[in-house]
């Protein structure tokens, strides 16, 4: 796995082999594997497609991963809103069991494995691995503090646990088939393999596309006839959210300095337009954002950027589990401000006000990454489209001032009349 260079497909892009190597194998406790199928990030729909269209790929990947890690019991934690997926997976597991790919003494190897499908109850936070574990244990999905509750040591039922994304586990099958080194030839160095990109928003052909990681640029994904097929006619690109709704927004026309190696192998900085960013983990990280769950949301010039952010922030305010103070209170506060701003009650100062609220949430102040997830969109939208927020607030203020002044003028007219 380490040779393959496979990086987690859930969002953080952490090395899968390294993750497996952290598992405490000397505790004497059983090791569990959990497939994280709680795909909830707005804009992301890759795992659902895999489970609907090719459930056996996932199950095969899981069986191999379990065998490799001496796991006897594995779970698929599937999002509550995907009842169809759960049905399909259960049917596939039944089929696999009938063929003795699962169950006791698999294919005569003496190895036993059971996989259970567990349906969530519809909370975004269950996609956070320790929140997922709590939920699987039947509790409220409050993410656990790390340290000490690293899943690899104290995971499900306080036993060593591996939590991997659906797409990551599917890749395991191909790594075993191709060999790690061969797999690593796919994609680009340190960004190996293929990824499914969920493309949504204002493109002609929204959908999901599998690419070799880093072999396509954002421009290709948006405009190539094999991918997005370009924006709607007569529209200009305004912004892209490149890796699921929590990733930082990219503004059309932004330029970044990317590290590249020149002909002599020396590291140089190359100015790159945002559309020419190769779609991989490292390039987007250099652009200050992330490829996250590889969900690209495209926004053209018809989008009211304030409303777009208000929409996102409503989601995060609703989904904060409420465990840590900054995220619990900050996510709703930001949403209230944005709803006020979109409903004509804004102030020109709200852009700064909102920025200060958002600054109090991320940067390790919360137990899980939700704090970052809810504040990054606000911070990045404000950083790149602040003028629109200020203009909206100022327009609201002007309108209200006029409304207050209007009755006074009316009175003066009446007085003059008498």
């Amino acid at each position: 796995m380490k040779v393959s260079g496979l990086r987690g497909r859930g969002g953080a892009g952490f090395s899968c082999g390294l993750k497996w190597s952290f598992v405490d194998r000397k505790s004497g406790k059983p090791i569990y594997l959990i497939c994280n199928a709680d795909e909830s990030e707005p804009g992301t729909f890759k795992d659902r497609q895999i489970m609907h269209k090719d459930p056996h790929q996932l199950i095969e990947g899981m069986i191999i991963s379990c065998f490799a890690n001496d796991v006897k019991l594995a779970y698929i934690y599937i999002r509550g809103e995907m009842p169809e997926g759960a049905k399909i997976l259960n049917r596939a597991i039944k089929e696999a069991r009938e063929k003795n790919f699962l169950g006791k003494n698999i294919l005569g190897t003496g190895y036993d494995l059971e996989i259970y499908v567990h349906r969530g109850a519809g909370a975004y936070i269950c996609g956070e691995e320790t929140g997922l574990i709590e939920s699987l244990e039947g509790k409220r999905p409050y993410p656990r503090i790390k340290p000490p509750y690293f899943p690899a040591i104290l995971g499900l039922w306080m036993c060593p646990t591996i939590v991997n994304n659906v797409e990551t586990l599917c890749n395991v099958k191909h790594i075993v088939e191709l060999g790690g080194a061969e797999f690593a030839k796919l994609g680009t160095p340190n960004n190996t393999g293929t990824r499914i990109v969920s493309l949504s928003g204002h493109v002609k052909r929204p959908g999901y596309y599998e690419i070799e990681v880093g072999k396509a640029t954002l421009r290709e994904l948006l405009y190539d006839k094999n991918f997005g097929g370009g924006l709607r006619d007569g529209r200009q690109l305004k912004a892209i959210i490149p890796g699921g709704s929590s990733s930082k927004v990219l503004k059309a026309g932004e330029k970044f300095k990317l590290k590249k190696k020149d002909a002599e192998g020396k590291e140089i900085l190359v100015e790159t337009d945002m559309l020419d960013l190769p779609y991989d983990f490292d390039s987007l990280a250099q652009a200050g954002t992330m490829s996250g769950s590889s969900a690209i949301i495209v926004m053209d010039d018809s989008v009211d950027i304030v409303k777009a952010l208000a929409n996102l922030s409503e989601f995060y305010a609703h989904e904060s589990c409420g465990q840590c103070t900054p995220c619990r209170e900050g996510s709703l506060w930001m949403n209230k401000t944005l709803q006020r701003l979109t409903h004509g009650e804004g102030r020109a100062s709200d852009a700064d006000y909102l920025g200060k609220i958002a600054d109090n949430i991320p940067g390790g102040r919360t137990i899980c990454a939700f704090g970052e997830a809810c504040s990054w969109p606000v911070q990045s939208f404000l950083a790149k489209f602040k003028d629109e927020f200020v203009a909206k607030g100022a327009a609201d203020e002007a309108r209200r001032a006029k409304e207050i002044a209007a009755p006074a003028e009316q009175k003066q007219l009446e007085a003059a009349h008498h």
């Binding site: 409420g322 465990q323 900054p326 709703l332 200060k356 102040r365």
Partner: protein
């Protein structure tokens, strides 16, 4: 349920390795391991190291006796660890000190273990800014109703607002509204708007009381503490949640709206409702008791006490308290009554006096009675009180000081086995004088015939042959008590005594821990601390002149009673000393 909560944290048999860390630039040595909430040794955390360094780290959800959850984020600190080179060797500064790599992210000090050479920074601008951010978040939806909140004055939100709060709020949105005055159970009220969702109450009742009764409903900022539908929060430890609640969300129905916390005088005392002897603080104002709250003592009650014990204080302020010295029903004076009694006792023949002491009396009082007993050759006993027990704090023995009665020789290992002998002595006219302290004998008195049909000793102990008819045969019945009862009405001499909250003294709890308690309020009327008038009585009858201060009395007792040898009043400290029983 934790058994460790009530057992003493023993010093580790082998010395725990010490490691050096720096707190705000000051190097201190701290043990690598520290007892966690359950008493188990776990890696020392930053907040524990900071405590040892006498550096305050503000916190809401962390409580030394509860599992760590790290959700309030108030205790975030910055830190650094010795930098490691690629060769896994520490990198040195030019001056030879180890180079410290500061962590880019803060850490919660309540859950992050320390490591050798770690530097913890609690006073940096970034830490201050994080604390301000957390506090602002906690306050935006808070009702800010301190003027009508019972927690005001002992509220962590108020305290940290002084340190990290803003004078004006920039919050212009509508606040989240949640249920107020929610009846959680028979003794607890919840104001969900004041709640900061630290989950201390949930953890207490789940992990300490063993009753998983509380949880959180809803999501995000709308989170609310709740019970299961139709299931009131009702166990014998619910009021501890009011103590652990850092804000005014959980309030005691008994105490709410009764008294501002800052008016209360706090007196160190001991609960008398059972033999556990939980350490308490009595909150009183102008000679009236308003509440008991538990006082930390890891050898006895950790930080907790039961609801029954906590609410068992109202009798002290009852209007019908015995306030007058009565001689044959007539109001008298202490001097007159004590002189009469002394004269009678001096003339009494050996064996004609019996003493029934109470295991609710203090060690000192029992010891003084034992002097009378010795001089008069009296037979003595005490009355057992047996009830239900639980696994946490409540002891089956409902007397606070049966061990004191035993150690001073006022009763045998099983209290009450001499009662039949006393009853017989009265019946046969051998015993003419009976001295009774704090016991309503008539309450459990049944006729000797009915008693003989009892099968077990414990039944006999609970009920005895000392009936009203029998007491009427006595020449002299001397009774000291606090509240009037059938026995005081029969008495020739009534000596009004003091509740423990009105005097000083010591009790010996069920484990043999000798604990002292202080005086919180004045006794009503002529009521006098028993040890004071017993001292006079012993002086009159035996000619021995003991000490007239409680300190001297205790120290003298400690010299004469073998079990207490070596103790002194001052050495008992606030949390007592365990003796061999």
């Amino acid at each position: 349920m934790s058994t460790a909560a009530t057992t003493e944290t023993k010093p580790a048999p082998t010395a725990i390795e010490k490691i050096k860390v720096k707190v705000d630039g000051r190097e201190i040595e701290v043990p690598r391991l520290t007892a966690d909430w359950s008493g188990k040794l776990t890696p020392t955390t930053m907040i524990q190291a900071c405590e040892l360094a006498k550096t305050d780290v503000p916190h809401y959800c962390w409580h030394p006796k509860l599992p760590v959850v790290g959700n309030c984020r108030m205790c975030l600190v910055e830190f650094g660890t010795p930098a490691m080179g690629p060769d896994r060797k520490p990198v040195m500064n030019p001056d030879g000190t180890p180079k410290i790599a500061k962590s880019p992210r803060p850490a919660i000090s309540c859950a992050t273990p320390i490591s050798p050479g770690m530097e913890i920074y609690t006073k940096t601008p970034a830490v201050k800014q994080m604390r301000e951010g957390v506090l602002e978040s906690l306050l935006i939806n808070h009702p800010l109703d301190c003027p009508i909140c019972d927690q005001a004055g002992e509220c962590k939100l108020q305290e940290y607002s002084v340190d990290y709060g803003q004078s004006a709020s920039r919050f212009v949105e509508a606040k989240v509204h949640k249920p107020k005055a929610v009846d959680l159970g028979p003794r607890i009220m919840l104001d969900a708007e004041r709640c900061i969702l630290c989950t201390r109450c949930i953890r207490f009742t789940r992990d300490i009381a063993g009753d998983d009764a509380l949880g959180i409903i809803n999501r995000g900022s709308y989170n609310t503490i709740a019970t299961f539908p139709g299931m009131p929060f009702d166990n014998n430890y619910t009021l501890n949640t009011v103590d652990v609640c850092p804000v005014g969300a959980l309030t005691s129905k008994d105490f709410r709206f009764q008294m501002r916390a800052w008016f209360l005088k706090e007196t160190k005392s001991v609960c008398t409702s059972c033999a556990t002897g939980c350490n308490v603080l009595i909150g009183s104002r102008e000679e009236k008791i308003y509440r008991y709250t538990p006082r930390d003592n890891d050898a006895v009650n950790a930080s907790w006490m039961c609801d029954a014990g906590r609410l068992n204080y109202k009798w002290i302020g009852r209007a019908d308290r015995l306030k007058d010295v009565l001689v044959r029903g007539q109001k008298s004076t202490w001097a007159a009554a004590l002189n009469e009694i002394s004269d009678k006792l001096k003339k009494a023949t050996a064996g004609s006096v019996a003493i029934i002491a109470s295991a609710r009396q203090t060690n000192e009082e029992l010891w003084l009675l034992s002097k009378l007993k010795a001089k008069l050759g009296a037979v003595s006993d005490s009355i057992a009180r047996i009830g239900a027990e639980d696994k946490l704090l409540v002891c089956a023995d409902k007397n606070p000081n049966i061990n004191g009665a035993r150690l001073t020789g006022m009763c045998f290992t099983e209290a009450g086995i001499n009662l039949a002998q006393i009853a017989n002595g009265i019946e046969q006219g051998k015993i003419k004088t009976l001295i009774v302290f704090g016991e309503n004998l008539v309450k459990h008195g049944v006729s000797a015939k009915a008693l003989s049909e009892k099968e077990t000793v414990s039944e006999v102990v609970e009920q005895h042959g000392l009936t009203a008819e029998l007491l009427a045969k006595l020449d002299t019945l001397i009774v000291s008590d606090i509240l009037p009862n059938e026995t005081t009405r029969l008495a020739h001499y009534v000596l009004p005594g003091c509740a423990h909250a009105e005097k000083r003294g010591t009790f010996t709890n069920t484990d043999g821990r000798v604990q002292k308690f202080m005086k919180a309020v004045e006794a009503p009327g002529d009521a006098r601390a028993e040890w004071e008038f017993l001292h006079d009585l012993v002086h009159n009858v035996t000619g021995q002149n003991g000490f007239v201060t409680i300190e001297g009395l205790f120290n003298q007792m400690a010299k004469e009673v073998p079990a207490f040898n070596g103790l002194t009043w001052s050495a008992l400290g606030d949390t007592g000393v365990t003796v061999q029983i």
